[in-house]
């Protein structure tokens, strides 16, 4: 009964609470929000820096086929990596949820291993293994298979690197979601006549929808703005937005256009962010209903 619930603590009128959050809020405002807002506002000015509102910088970006190609390849890489992350990790998460034993523990350790390896090491390892004249090519040639085409420096290079990098997080979120489904819920579905595929489709996937949204939206944010893997494993043209922004800022020395690229990246990522926030909102609403 809602009336029996204790009222929420009145933190808004608690000076100690305000004091505790004051420092991080001020720091965030000074070092994150203010400079970010300045950059965003400047992108809505003229390209030569003269005062007044203008969409000139955006017109330049959207009229430039190279920039549009970069945006396109970034979207492609993000979407393909996201799909592969779910396709690869969901069966592993399902296996870990429903099987116990040494093999399951070993697979879990193997899948979480990339979390403890720095990204740059992963990139070098991939270059040495699947890159041109790498170990894989040598091994294939030893057994008489020639004509190996390396995925490094192609759009698939960053996909492989990002897949490796994002796998542990995705697996953790999915296994946490699956842990919330009771064995009895699965058995109840089996009892009424559902096949394994039907249980997966009608019982398991809808119940981990929240986890799928969380790992999709959060991975989207990190994949879309990633720099290291696209820089080290990807093609130079078209290039992903991360290296593109970096090059525009540091090599081309055009901070205004880099800011425009960053704002566009931010706006696209906000859609994923909004999806995440909505998902969290729905979860809280469901929890509230359960309490009531």
């Amino acid at each position: 009964m809602a009336s029996d619930l204790a009222p929420p603590p009145k933190t808004s009128k608690n000076p100690l609470g305000l004091l505790m959050i004051a420092a991080p809020v001020v720091l965030m405002g000074l070092f994150l929000l203010y400079p970010a807002l300045r950059v965003v506002l400047r992108t809505f000015g003229a390209a030569d820096g003269s005062p007044g509102f203008s969409l000139e910088n955006y017109a330049r970006f959207f009229n430039d086929s190279y920039s549009l190609n970069n945006l396109g390849i970034t979207l492609w890489t993000t979407v393909v990596t996201l799909i592969l992350l779910i396709v690869v990790n969901l069966p592993i998460a399902l296996y870990l949820r429903f099987r116990k034993g040494r093999l399951a523990t070993f697979i879990q350790a193997l899948a979480l291993f990339p979390m403890f390896v720095p990204g740059v090491i992963i990139c070098y390892a991939l270059i040495r293994y699947i890159g041109p004249n790498g170990l894989l090519q040598s091994l294939l040639e030893h057994v008489g298979i020639t004509g190996y085409q390396t995925p490094i420096m192609t759009p698939w290079g960053p996909v492989i690197g990002l897949l490796w990098d994002a796998m542990p997080f995705t697996l953790l979120v999915l296994t946490a979601g699956l842990a919330g489904i009771s064995n009895a819920a699965i058995e109840a579905a089996q009892d009424v006549g559902a096949s394994r595929l039907r249980i997966l489709w009608s019982i398991v996937l809808p119940q981990i929808r929240g986890s799928l949204v969380v790992c999709t939206s959060l991975n989207f944010l990190s994949l879309f703005g990633s720099v290291l893997q696209p820089y080290m494993l990807g093609p130079t043209s078209p290039e992903l937005m991360g290296p593109f922004m970096l090059r525009t800022f540091s090599s081309v020395r055009d901070p205004l256009q880099a800011g425009t690229q960053a704002t566009i990246t931010f706006l696209i990522c906000s859609v994923a962010g909004l999806l995440y926030i909505l998902s969290m909102g729905n979860r809280r609403k469901a929890e509230k209903e359960t309490v009531a």
């Binding site: 009895a184 058995e187 109840a188 579905a189 089996q190 809808p206 469901a286 359960t290």
Partner: protein
Amino acid sequence: MASLDLQDISKRYSNLAAVDTLSLSIADGELVCLLGPSGSGKSTLLRMIGGFEIPSSGKILIDGVDVAPVPPDKRPTAMVFQSHALWTHMNVWENIAFGLKLRKFSRDEVAAKIARVMELVGLTGYEKRHPSQLSGGQQQRVAIARSIVLEPKILLLDEPFASLDQHLREHLREEVRQIQRQLGITTIFVTHGQDEALALADRIVVMSKGKIEQVGTPDEIYARPQTEFVAGFIGVMNLVSATVSGGSLAFAGEALSAPVADGLATLAIRPEDWKVGEGAGLKATVTRTVNLGAYVLADVALPDGTTVKVHLDKARAVREGDPIEIGIGPFALYRDNMVIHRS
């Protein structure tokens, strides 16, 4: 509706036998409670009947057909789980309709069947609610509705009210009894609550360590426990070690007739079977009283130091430390876990 025959059923995990060569027959339309402490194998046995565990050996015959190797979805059984096991992303209607849709019933048939079971479990009007919007008792009713809507031959309930409070439990077990009688469905109910089993069952199967200790009606189980385990497990029982010698049993200075072989035995007497009052025989002292509503359960210290539990009429108004005279009424003797004598 169907009969069930379990023939030499065993379930072993490594060297441990959760269910050990157990045989049992359940008649068509009967409500049988599997009763036992945790680890007695009652849930494992139920899960084997439901198809969620494969027996290590033995046969499970439903209407004469062995279903031991058949998966749960192909058996004419339906299970109600302890944790309700409702699908939280579906509303009540969808939860109940799920199994019907899998069986390809038409939309009208599904609606009609759901309306009937919703009325049966008293939840008409709750169709659009999600499990999180229901109380524990309502959730369990939905779980029961979800099972019986499929018209199984045998309904299996695995401690379905364990997570509910005492009042609701009593209410729901009455409802289950009514529904079972109305449908005439063969029902197996697992519980570790003896009051639940005594109130609900046509027959009780008392289990311990994977074996059946006794099968009988609630009256038989309570009044004539066949083993010392059942005597101690069902209701309150005084179990006191005593020695039989020359056809007589010495207890608290009294000699009781015991026409059995000499040796150690366990004397069993219910608290309500003591004679109480002047001339009863044993002069004792009340050491503790517990008011149980209709009567008082008293701990009574006998002259030899043994403490026994005795039911006392509330009208006696005894207090701790009061002297009292009690005498032995009907009793049973157990040796090697089996009953050897009843007075």
